[in-house]
Amino acid sequence: MRDWPLWEVFVRSRRGLSHVHVGSLHAPDAEMALRNARDLYTRRQEGISLWVVPAAQIVASSPDEREPFFDPAADKIYRHPTFYDVPEGVEHL
């Protein structure tokens, strides 16, 4: 039981539109992972839907790649809608 795989848990709250990552747990298989998730992460009515994903199946960006991955977006202010002036009197925009 010590080598149970790790699972990542996602919960959708009653009002939430999407599942949100809440943590991880150990379980021998997918069915038990779902039940453990219910017991660990929805004890206080946190959600109405659960996803469990094998942690090994998640492909993550590496901290080493942070600069090339994310820094170039920093100075592209024209990607934000607030960059553009809305001309006076324009409706339905």
């Binding site: 039981m1 149970w4 747990l25 150990h26 379980a27 021998p28 069915e31 038990m32 039940r35 453990n36 017991d39 660990l40 004890r43």
Partner: protein, 247 residues
């Protein structure tokens, strides 16, 4: 004591003693995740016991509430079946016990929803959802251990064999007056559905349905195994030593 009160106390004590035994696993389960799962189940059982004991106290109308009934009765005044009171220090035994108890409680509460005792019906309505999950949890483990390794199969079969003789006590008839009044569910009527479900789970888990005869009953009349006294000593000593203690 009235038959009505006896009946409610019996169901309350089954839940209370189960809760005490299940909670023994807190900090002892094979994984943290299972620790929390069993703690949740024990808390469900305790919640059922509290509601039923409070109801019993009102039926008795002698000034005893849930605490007095839980902590100040002696062994002979407890009406639980022997199934729930014996130690369960082996994980397989804990799983087999939960499978038997939850299967029976599921059928019981599903039928008690229609009781003419409105309080019993309300408790049953809430509890039936809880025990459906307990049953699922026990079933999942029974399947994995029964149909797992040679070692787990051997131990799971031994656990089922050890618990099975205590199943029959759950089906002891109750006072016919309670059935006429629509208060109680006839335990003998629950037997086919309980056995069918258990046999299905055991077959699916590649386990054998034991053919051993029933153990000696008596729990409903206050005649218990030697183990209940020790359980009550541990459960009650704080309240008895410090009657007004709160936290």
């Amino acid at each position: 004591m009235s038959a009505h009160l006896d009946y409610v106390l019996a169901l309350a004590d089954d839940a209370l003693v189960s809760a005490q035994r299940t909670s023994w696993w807190i900090s002892r389960a094979p994984q943290l995740e299972e620790d929390v799962a069993l703690a949740n189940i024990a808390l469900d059982q305790l919640g059922q016991a509290r509601a039923l004991l409070a109801h019993a106290g009102r039926l008795e109308d002698a000034g005893r509430g849930e605490d007095e009934l839980a902590y100040l009765r002696d062994e002979r005044e407890f009406h639980n079946v022997k199934l729930v009171e014996r130690p369960q220090a082996d994980f397989g035994v804990a799983v087999a016990r939960l499978l038997l108890v939850a299967t029976w409680q599921y059928e019981l509460y599903a039928a008690l929803v229609d009781s003419t005792d409105a309080m019993l019906a309300a408790v049953a309505g809430k509890a039936v959802k809880e025990v459906a999950y307990h049953l699922d949890h026990a079933r999942q483990w029974t399947l994995r251990l029964g149909d797992g390794t040679a070692e787990s199969a051997r131990r799971m079969q031994a656990a089922v064999d050890a618990e099975w003789p205590y199943l029959e006590e759950l089906f002891e008839p109750v006072d016919p007056g309670l059935l006429d009044a629509g208060i109680a569910v006839d335990p003998t009527r629950l037997r086919p559905a309980v056995l069918l479900r258990l046999e299905q789970v055991l077959a699916e888990a590649a386990l054998t349905v034991p053919t051993t005869g029933p153990a000696v009953g008596g729990g409903r009349r206050g005649l218990h195994t030697e183990h209940l006294g020790y359980l009550l000593a541990e459960m009650q000593h704080l309240h008895r030593s410090h009657p007004e203690a709160t936290w």
